[in-house]
């Protein structure tokens, strides 16, 4: 077994251990409500971090609008759930119907991934022509557009079908349907996803991404990242692969968004704004660009960190502390001395680049 597959299996193991530990805590009731409530969103953010890492780490493009794909997935899930619940007869509440929950979960995740993939494909087209900060700004713009669109559409469902409007129909006295998306107020959701489902999705995503990276397509994507001109001159159809990376990443983000949404009781467009995109980026960078293990760990830790600070007696300074910690972690992990030390400890040939890359120029 070579290094790469060792790494991949390490990640699967990590996820499974994560699951077993928390599942044990859950079933013995030894877990706080807060942590219990955080498990699924945490898993969702792990998926999102992996998805963004595919763009940032593997294909080497900066995306500042990943929450846009997440929100497409989330609202798609809300929509699918609404449609299914509207068309299905069910005894008792949803929480007692595991079968229906699974049905909703599976269909939602798939449809969410497809919708997000379509969006990813569309936004991928400009990606082909742009790079660097110009690309970053286009993704940012895309995220903002999505947020604003969700903010002003209203989707309802009744026996005649689904209605999309820019006015809120529920304010009409004669309205007899059910609102699925209510503009800025977002969607009310009946909770379905459970921790185990999230973990299965996470594992699936990991398998897809890691296998992709170690396949022909993944190599091509990484080659483009390292040197576009050389990749092109080696016969790689770079448009195809750039688009592929973007679309797959978007699909995964959509699936993550669906998981996130189905575990919450309500989602709003505002939740998926620029700051949310940045949050995911923070996970990726802190976990190490291109490093899937790191992304997952960073997503888990950083997602719960500010929440854990709630329990301490520092409420007022919570976000200030978070900011300081963020800066401190960046400074420490990038400190040359500490890196050199880590390099010696882990015997990694980490290039301490004092000799700037430009040395190879011309």
């Amino acid at each position: 077994m070579n290094n790469k597959s060792k790494n991949a299996f390490l990640n699967y193991g990590l996820v499974i251990v994560f699951f077993v530990v928390f599942q044990a805590l859950l079933s013995t009731g030894n877990i706080s409500s807060l942590l219990k409530g955080l498990l699924v969103p945490m898993t969702a953010y792990m998926i999102l971090a992996i998805s963004l890492n595919l763009v940032v780490g593997i294909s080497g493009e900066l995306s500042l609008g990943h929450a846009g794909f997440m929100s497409i997935g989330a609202f798609t899930a809300a929509f699918v759930e609404g449609v299914i619940l509207n068309n299905i007869k069910m005894e008792g509440p949803l929480s007692k119907n595991l079968g229906v929950q699974i049905l909703i979960f599976v269909i939602s995740v798939i449809v969410a991934a497809v919708f997000a993939a379509i969006a990813g494909f569309l936004i991928g087209i400009p990606v082909l022509r742009l790079n660097g900060d110009y690309l970053a700004i286009v993704t940012l713009a895309f995220g903002e557009i999505i947020k604003n669109i969700f903010n002003c559409i209203y989707i309802s469902i009744d026996e005649t079908g689904v209605h999309i409007s820019d006015k809120n129909p529920s304010l009409d006295a004669s309205f007899a349907g059910k609102m699925i998306l209510e503009g800025p107020q977002g969607s009310v959701i009946k909770k379905v996803s459970i921790f185990a489902a999230g973990i299965i999705l996470l594992l699936l995503v990991l398998i897809i991404v890691q296998n992709l990276v170690n396949s022909k397509a993944g190599r091509a994507i990484m080659a483009m990242r390292d040197n576009r001109i050389a990749a092109e001159s080696s016969g790689l159809p770079i448009k195809k692969y750039k688009l592929m990376a973007f679309t797959i990443s978007a699909a995964i983000a959509g699936a993550g968004g669906a998981l996130f949404a189905l575990n919450s009781t309500g989602i709003t467009p505002k939740q998926f704004d620029f700051n949310a995109s940045i949050l995911i980026l923070v996970f990726v960078v802190l976990g190490g660009i291109g490093n899937m293990t790191g992304s997952m760990i960073a997503a888990a830790l950083l997602y719960i960190l500010p929440e854990m600070l709630r329990e301490l007696d520092v409420q007022k300074y919570r976000m200030l502390i978070y900011a300081v910690l963020l800066i401190a972690v960046m400074l420490i992990t990038n400190n040359e001395k500490i890196r050199a030390l880590a390099g010696r400890v882990f015997k990694k040939k980490d290039k301490v680049s004092v000799k700037p890359e430009a040395g190879k120029e011309a």
Partner: protein, 310 residues
């Protein structure tokens, strides 16, 4: 339509002035300083406090807030960015975001979340005098808009002042980076820090200098922003900061005139969209136009398409 154009320029000129400072740091230190918007906010508060609590005249308040922001910019650079000189761009980006959160939350603790209404400095006799004389120059624009012909409304006066300040800063920065030794050194540093060092350029000092200038400009932008849209809260700088970033990219990264034109265009698009389709969020159009423009001109309006030498 003419009114909308004028209003658009009014909004755009505010974006432009922020974008100029942004581009400065962005073009030279080669980093997306997401905390720039928050430095603007600090500038706003600094001048607000000196004017309202200490009763300083606006000019003194402006100078004071420039001093504060300059010190703040340099301090942040020294403490948070300098240790990351050799780290990846993204690491610096995340640190900048950390700084942004920090400034916002510190401001929240200091000044609370209650908005402060910024005094209308454009209404002061000095500016009235200045713009009254300028009135004759662009009388047609004014006549189309104001009922009391010939005299500028406060808002138009603000726009005019902002544009004049924009032009001065733009010219100043252009001259500075192309003509002065320090300015050229900045460009050299932006390209290859190692090689710049070998020329005898003190890279750290040059980058600090960049931040000092950028943050000083942020203070000016803060005062003008708040004077135009007088609600001052800890998050005042964030959205204009992002818009200014967009404007800078729109105009072409690192291009000083590009930042200004990009800012003004952004404002015009935003206002026009709002006028034409009043019930749809105007940002949809702003960002859609941006994407389309970048598709046609992938390096922004004034960006040089630097062909990579192979």
């Amino acid at each position: 339509m003419l009114t909308n154009l004028f209003n658009g320029i009014g909004l755009g000129s505010v974006y432009a002035i922020i974008a100029l400072g942004y581009t400065m740091v962005y073009g030279i230190a080669k980093m997306l300083n997401f905390a720039h918007g928050d430095v603007i906010m600090v500038g706003g508060y600094a001048s607000y406090c000196t004017m309202m609590y200490l009763g300083w005249p606006p000019a003194a308040a402006l100078l004071f807030s420039m001093a504060i922001c300059t010190v703040l910019g340099v301090l942040v650079e020294r403490l948070a960015y300098k240790p990351l000189r050799n780290a990846s761009n993204l690491a610096v980006l995340i640190t900048a975001i950390g700084v942004s959160y920090f400034l916002q939350n510190a401001a929240l603790l200091i000044w609370s979340s209650n908005p402060k209404v910024f005094p209308n400095i454009f209404n002061m006799p000095f500016f009235q005098g200045v713009t009254a004389s300028a009135a004759s120059v662009s009388a047609d624009a004014a006549a189309a808009d104001t009922a009391s012909s010939g005299v500028f409304s406060v808002k138009q006066r603000g726009t005019l002042i902002t544009i004049v300040v924009n032009l001065i800063i733009m010219a100043g920065l252009t001259l500075f980076t192309s003509k002065t030794k320090m300015g050229k050194a900045m460009r050299a540093v932006s390209e290859d820090r190692g090689a710049a060092t070998l020329m005898g350029i003190n890279v750290n000092r040059t980058i600090s200098m960049t931040f000092a200038i950028g943050s000083g400009l942020a203070a000016i932008a803060g005062v003008l922003l708040c004077a135009t849209y007088p609600n001052l809260v800890p998050t005042t700088g964030s959205m204009p900061g992002i818009k200014a970033f967009v404007a800078a990219v729109f105009g072409g990264i690192g291009s000083i005139p590009g930042a200004m034109i990009g800012g003004i265009l952004l404002g015009v698009i935003e206002i026009t969209a709002r006028a034409l389709v009043p019930t749809v969020p105007s940002d949809i159009f702003v960002f859609a136009v941006l994407i389309i423009v970048l598709l046609v001109k992938p390096s922004g309006l004034f960006g040089k398409t630097v062909r990579e030498k192979v």
